[in-house]
Subunit: 387 residues, 2 copies
């Protein structure tokens, strides 16, 4: 068990012959079980959902995006509102990313220097600069329970030379983040303690991932992320990078795999010792009619659902599956109704939430491998049907 | 009190020196108080809302559109699902319009004959025909608690000659609707009794409105609508048309003013003896950032709300005003988030629901005129501020 003022992480169960584990993570605004999936609330809202619905499904921890919120509406307004929790009416805990990923994927005309990154907003072209210190300040103003150190997410593919250069910069920035965070007393603007996680980089190069994990572990963060993955690399490359990092990170601290992923990816990563996940997949795909079910991903716009009066997933007990049919949902999509996005987002998030609960139970029962095989068998069948 | 198998309407309070009244309307799926506002669920959903939220606000009666549902997904599927209530998961009562208004405003290449109207779908150009008999059949399949007779809504302006011609056709169609409805035992496909309302037409011509009301009253419908208004005429013309119709309609039957309107219009019409209203205004305007408040209609996208951490309306107790600020709502609109439409729709419908409750209370206390003056005074002030 690791316990600091800002974060408690207690491991409750471990696989006897593996590295997967179940834990309890205590943050200023919520206590939750891991492995956990965090819905993504990019712009101070999980798209199409209310905070009340997220709580109803069972979520206690959301991710929000520093880059987006800095550009609009700005951290100053959010601090005035008493922090992001109050601004968006969310009673649970919040993790904010560092903006690193968005600066390198969304922003325009970025210029990387030793101090940080200058860039133009993708919204209005305005000029901004992110430094380790400014990113800490923004996350402090947002009032996140968990803040992330500013990092450089190198593109895929990158040469080993460039991946090493980006990694070194990330390490120097991590130190500066640590200092800036400590200088502010480790507190969010709202007065509560804030945990700062370091981010392992190094691209798909295992030696770099090992070096990065070692270096960050030495900085003694209360939690660690594995960043820079899910950017186009193969599953094999990703799994190797995760393995290289995980075995050198402190065993008693939470590990967060950023931006991952599909149910298959999550199952892979849990088995490799990952505790935390975030991904836009359930919310983004929902809005295009893709729903996750025990029988695979189905496209609700498909004509074969037009007269199907059964639920999206007969094995799902979510509020949408209890009340609405595939035929109704398909009608809403065909008619371009907002309710289509609402119902399918609610269902998809419920699916991911239940998947994590099932994963935790499987770990506790030491049957994660069997659970994964059963899950994927049904899941693969459905995929074929829909094509 | 008028009581038939399909509908009870009991007048509980009348203005001593006016024609406004409070009533209780009992329908197969709900009992509700009048004057009542019905949210519009055009395509089997009130845009951006769930049935549960509508019930939470306090609505017990929604309107749905025969024209839209016939074209997509079709009444056959809805009948298979057990009717529109079950198809969309709504436990309250439903009124379906006759499709007349949409055929004359949305459909393409319409051709009016004595038997009905041939037209092309505005969605895919497919050919359709509405006759009094087919419209009755569709509404029977949809399973509405209240069905409307098929009518012709003449455009504004129309010559007296054309308005009379359209009115005569509407009367002949009303008789045929009555017969078709009786031939089916007055029952919806789901087996419950269905009330059929006649629709007074006649444009802005008071003599025609009087003739129409007389003719329909003779057909002895359990309720009556005043149709063909809110199509561009002046408030004076509308009020005169309402007065002409109302004084010749049976005093003990519910009166429904179709497609109206603004809070001002509703207050005008309640004072003229109208019991039921529907309008897309609260839902449609919500999606463009227009919110209704006790201080007038405000545009939430306006920069003056950018840093306003107060609620949309400090006098409103709805779930949105209890939890969210103007600054947050404006941010959601600027960011193009679905939640913007959700929250403002929820608030606007709450506003209309409360307006009707206040109107009923004012009638019971015999102070409708004073209530109207107070309401409009605050409402007009806000409008100035926002411009």
């Amino acid at each position: 068990m690791t316990s600091t003022e800002e974060l408690d992480f207690e491991i409750m169960a471990r696989e006897p012959r593996g590295v997967a584990r179940c834990g309890v993570l205590r943050l200023p605004h919520a206590t939750l079980e891991t492995p956990v999936f965090m819905p993504v609330g990019t712009q101070a809202t999980v798209k199409a959902m209310t905070p009340g619905e997220l709580e109803e499904i069972g979520f206690r921890l959301l991710l929000a995006n520093t880059y987006h919120l800095h550009l609009r509406p700005g951290e100053e307004l959010i601090a005035q509102a008493g922090g992001l929790h109050r601004f968006c009416g969310w009673n649970g805990a919040l993790l904010t990313d560092s903006g690193g990923y968005q600066v390198f994927s969304l922003a325009e005309r970025r210029k990387i220097g030793p101090d940080g990154v200058r860039f133009q907003s993708h919204i209005d072209g305005s000029l901004h600069e992110f430094t380790p210190e400014s990113v800490m300040q923004i996350q402090r103003d947002l009032g996140a329970d968990v803040a992330m150190a500013f990092d450089e997410c190198a593109p895929y593919p990158s040469t080993p030379e460039y991946a090493a250069e980006a990694m070194d910069r990330t390490h120097r920035w991590a130190e500066r983040c640590r200092e800036a965070h400590a200088a502010a007393g480790g507190l969010a603007a709202g007065g509560w303690p804030q945990a700062l996680f370091g981010i392992v980089q190094g691209g798909v190069y295992q030696d770099l991932r090992e070096a990065s994990a070692r270096r960050l572990a030495a900085l003694d963060f209360p939690g660690y992320a594995v960043g820079g993955l899910a950017v186009g690399e193969s599953a094999q490359e990703r799994n190797n990078a995760i393995d290289a990092a995980v075995c050198l990170l402190p065993a008693d601290k939470p590990r967060y795999l950023m931006g991952v992923g599909t149910p298959e990816d999550i199952l892979d990563a849990v088995a490799r010792g990952i505790d935390m996940f975030d991904c836009v997949l359930p919310t983004r795909n929902a809005r295009t009619g893709q729903v996750f079910t025990s029988a695979g991903v189905l496209n609700m716009i498909n004509a074969r659902h037009a007269r199907d009066l059964g639920p999206i997933d007969p094995t799902c007990g979510c509020a949408v599956c209890r009340s609405h049919s595939r035929a109704y949902l398909r009608h809403l999509f065909k008619a371009g109704e907002i309710l289509a996005a609402r119902l399918s987002t609610y269902h998809n998030l419920s699916f991911f939430h239940r998947l994590m609960a099932d994963v935790r139970e499987a770990i506790r029962q030491d049957r994660l491998r069997a659970f994964r095989a059963e899950f994927l068998a049904g899941y693969a069948r459905g995929k074929e049907q829909d094509e």
